[in-house]
Symmetry: D2
Subunit: 383 residues, 4 copies
């Protein structure tokens, strides 16, 4: 019985790995250990852990690690606390493999703890280009990992060029596309987002089209976060189109963004914006699928929306360098430019589906790979 420990540290990582978790859980030869950690445990970020449990996964360990403060130093310290706490969790769970997802500091904490504890490490979503601190962290995790389950051929090529042995790099597609594929199969929006999720702000009528907005702070410019989000808020408010705005995930600077949103609400009381703290991933994608346009800097615009064909106005440098489909219009943090791009995208309407990031079967492929790979922890630069 192969013990596979998947560490989930934030909403997006759960969203991306869920279809793989389902396949792993269904296998007889694998004991799935789900560790819920960091913001996945916190109310402020919508208590992802509750969703995980509701989806039928047992939590093997809860690892609190977020040091409040949203400063660069508290990000470093949060990473350190995570390492300390995850080492204990791994010691108790004794997994045969640890699985870590993407590029956040909690992901790095997972990777370092597993590496020093001599547990073979599987990284999902290596080889992608982002920017800012995530760029460094993602590739550092690649160097600490023993296996790489990547989203695309381009990602595979990059991981191999970084010196990883080709046989350890497997293209599975991005598991986030799996959920998107379910939406395409049955796209009806059967619930009222406000009725189901509450939220605050204006009452909005979604029947004639609506925007979805989601803007994360860009870590290394956290003083600018507030100004940045104001440009987007102005563009969204001024458009007059009903918009569903989603709160950002925690990071150094999320505070700037969050305060920016709060300040804007108080001073402008926008009549077309409704704000949500969180939403179940599938519901979010469904809402996204039916929207006229996604505005902001979420990676969902790059990944899921390319598959769903949803028009995207991508703002600023957060997704710079990521492979993208034709559905993405890039603009700067400027309300005028954002407003123009929204108009263009609405005029264009839905794009055709693009399988750049996967075809919807990543979950089973990931589970299959994890069930098959040899436990190994020694590696050497492949040059």
């Amino acid at each position: 019985m192969r013990k596979v420990c998947v560490v989930i540290t934030a909403r997006p990582s759960y969203s991306r790995i869920r279809s793989a978790l389902e396949t792993l859980k269904a296998r007889d030869d694998i004991e799935l250990q789900v560790v819920a950690a960091a913001s996945a445990l916190l109310d402020r970020y919508g208590s992802v852990v509750t969703e995980i449990e509701r989806d039928g996964f047992e939590i093997a360990s809860k690892v609190y690690m977020v040091l409040e403060g949203e400063q660069p130093s508290t990000m470093a310290k949060t990473t350190g606390i995570g390492m300390i706490e995850l080492a204990t969790a791994f010691d108790n769970l004794q997994p045969d493999f640890v699985v870590t997802i993407a590029d956040r500091h909690e992901t790095l904490a997972t990777a370092v703890a597993a590496a020093y504890m001599n547990i073979p490490l599987v990284h999902i979503q290596g080889g992608e280009i982002t920017g800012s601190i995530d760029e460094k962290v993602r590739h550092a995790i690649t160097k600490l990992s023993d296996y790489h389950l990547v989203s695309s051929e381009q990602a595979r090529e990059r991981v191999v060029r970084m010196g990883e042995a080709p046989e350890t790099v497997i293209v599975t597609g991005c598991p986030s596309i799996d959920i998107a594929a379910r939406i395409l199969d049955a796209p009806a929006l059967e619930f009222d987002p406000v009725h189901k999720y509450g939220g605050v702000g204006a009452k909005v009528d979604l029947s004639n089209g609506y925007l979805v907005a989601l803007q994360h702070p860009v870590t290394t410019e956290h003083e600018l976060a507030r100004r940045h989000v104001h440009e987007t808020l102005h563009a969204a408010a001024d458009s007059g189109i009903p918009a569903l705005w989603f709160w950002p995930t925690p990071d150094a600077g999320s505070d700037g963004t969050s305060r920016g949103i709060r300040a804007f609400r108080e001073s402008h009381d926008p009549s077309n914006l409704h704000f949500f703290k969180n939403m179940a991933p599938e519901d979010f994608l469904r809402v996204l699928y039916h929207s006229s346009c996604l505005v902001g800097n979420s990676s969902a615009g790059i990944r899921e929306c390319s598959f769903l064909g949803v028009p995207v106005v991508n703002i600023g440098g957060r997704q710079l360098g990521r492979d993208r489909g034709p559905n993405v219009l890039d603009v700067d943090h400027d309300r005028g430019a954002i407003a123009d791009a929204i108009r263009k995208q609405i005029a264009h309407g839905r794009y055709s589906s693009d399988s750049l990031y996967g075809d919807g079967a990543a979950g089973p492929r990931i589970a299959d790979a994890i069930g098959r790979i040899e436990p190994r922890i020694h590696k050497r630069l492949n040059y």
Copy 2:
């Protein structure tokens, strides 16, 4: 005034960086901040911090971070504690650049803390091939670093192939060779090692040639550490040649090695082995220079000894894949094979000097590079 913070976490990292520190300290345009951390602060490992101060460097901050236990989990936790504590130190010192050396877990703690605190990070000794966990950690640090001051052209090529921008990778040579170069200039051994450093074990007569032995545990096989060191101890004891044996630095498993040494001393009471806890780096190299052969798995055998022309019997996989000169004979953990190799190396005698790892001027080149580079923290995979 450019504030440059160099973090020294262990004896070897001090030994390697000292000549660069001297040059940095002498410059008017640079404020040198020396942080002493981890085993560099501990008595058990010879209180390197005392040496640093004796050499005229002021300590800007002392960072205690070693969690006792010598388990894989305590290595992970030590890394986490280091991150927490170094973040505070960087917050207080506000350096313009952080410099980190080589591939240990404390080095990784330094790199992660600097990266998340948006401080440009300079890595010394990237691009080298080692093995075991160090292999992963070294290249992960490369991915977190903004500049790479490397030892050799081969190292440079590897770092660039990993996706680092060529203009950020500078060949300086390995600073450890700088100290070796001073030995070559004035090779006389003017002190009696036992008289100066004490130690325990047999009285040894060094006048007719002697061995130097230094064996570190190989992290991920820490149960084997004891057996491994016994093979070497038997070979050294059975050779009858006087030998100076140096205690290993701390690591998961050093305990196995250390206990192995203690058990061997008690049961065999070898009449030709004298044991030292530590030695000033220059004294160590001088003793090494005059030895007939270095036995063990120290990287000094690969680096400094290639330049000094000292014959080396390198045991096991710890240095696997590292570029090496003709002075190195590789053998397995087998007392017979080790004994044979010692005989061969003594028969061969001194090798000619090889500048594979540098020509003795790395320190000034490192200081020059650090004084010249632009502060930058954004980077992107260079593919």
Copy 3:
């Protein structure tokens, strides 16, 4: 020059110590070192640190220590992180005395760090009776402290009975009364709370009397927190009297209380309740002074309100055992009982001022005591 380090970890501790800080700062023979820590640094709790700086105090060190989660285990871990981080701060600041206030876990972290670092520790507000975990912590801090500056004769007697040497226990009065005394001197309410502090909820007219409500969770019953706060919310909403409701400070369970408040707002949309996150201490007291009644379980009801003569409905066990004046009516967590008590208190109107907790000159007395006491760290049970 005597270096005195005052650690401020939460809004109430700043509120209570401010008048002493002013006197300490004005002295020539004392170097005041203000450390801002824990929730005093966090936006979620109103960024007390900003107020401290605005009041003219320089921050010597910022210590982030709150591990998010609001679980019993995260309270323990927060205390541990505080100890680690405060030890570093004390090492850097090298104070001659550390001053800690009241009974929270951050206060305990301060006390333990100072005790193990051999720094004489001054505790403010020892010897009082509270309840729940605070009861244990307050007296544990007494046993770790070298000097005790207490609020009342009763408190002094208790500290001495616990075995502290009488000469180390000094009655200064509670410094929180000092601010209250300024209000009595010039009671005019010159600002509109909603205009100055914003907040959310109903528009309220304060001209015909209003309630102030503030309810903290009771730590060891954190599942009940939500139910408890609902009783109070119902009583306040049903009274129809305009009420200013203040958000609780962070603790295990504050989440229960906070969620309770949020849920009530959404489901009941009360037309007479306005909610504030925080207020400058003096403004808060001024608003309190003009209110018809304070409802909840805040210690301000016990201390400041006895001096200000404000009627108080004190709910549940949080203040159980604390010395109280005639202005306090104690009731259980029951909406009917709370409503009755509110009616009674409004019928009674303002009480006469009681100096049970001090006469308004605690600050200078505290500063005087700190300037006078001998540095000592050895003590022995005085039986």
Copy 4:
């Protein structure tokens, strides 16, 4: 089934609790959870955990928490790390009671973690007078504890005077006397200490009487530790009587003591001193029973030796204020005074047994009390 978690953090605490553990383990209605923590896990201190397992107790959790450095700041940080790590252990084990022993910083970490996690806390050995930092810590733990199992009537009286409810304070006697009682029942020394435990130093003949020496550093004077131990070493060496010297346990300054011992050995090479790192508690007591005199500052001199009737030369202030029997001669850190006292005690010979600290049945009484007490965590100063 009542789950009782006993945290063992050092050799002496195991020694003292062992007889209670045996009784607890034998009970059907109690599930014993032994947590091994701090120096109990470390090789440097004789791997107490191995002994615990050899004695038939299963280890429920291993908690590494010692931050190397032996500085005041590392003691504070070790306490903080302990709190973080023990909170996780308690979260996993979910005990109904936590049992903590004596007065060390790891004991305090245990107490704080249990208190904040709302687990009823049982303290063993409260109410005793020691001195230095331990004095503060012991009574602080009393204030955090819910039950107090004390050694003597005097201790009981002190705990009650500190404000604890009388019904929560139970005189059990000190469990360390239980082991001593077994020695008195069957006193034969059936093993050769050097043969069984090795150690280093002179070959000593124990047949004509011998000294036992054990000296701990006094925490808050850690620079003096080296000078202090030299006085004792000189007195012991100069006496010419064979002496068995035991290495101290870890603490800030143990380094001073340890270095002092090492330096003395190298410079004086004493011909009558043999040094041990550790010994099983029962073996140690047996060796002690047969000795002519115990020299140093160990609490064993105060407790076990009063029961065993062994003459004790107690040096310096470490045991100041502790209740003691007639077998103890107190002297200052002065080699002449120590030598005199040794002579007097040897001239006097064995004392009669004194039951000041218990009668040998503390273990069953402790187990009985723990099986009987009500789980409660609320308390209030009993004045």
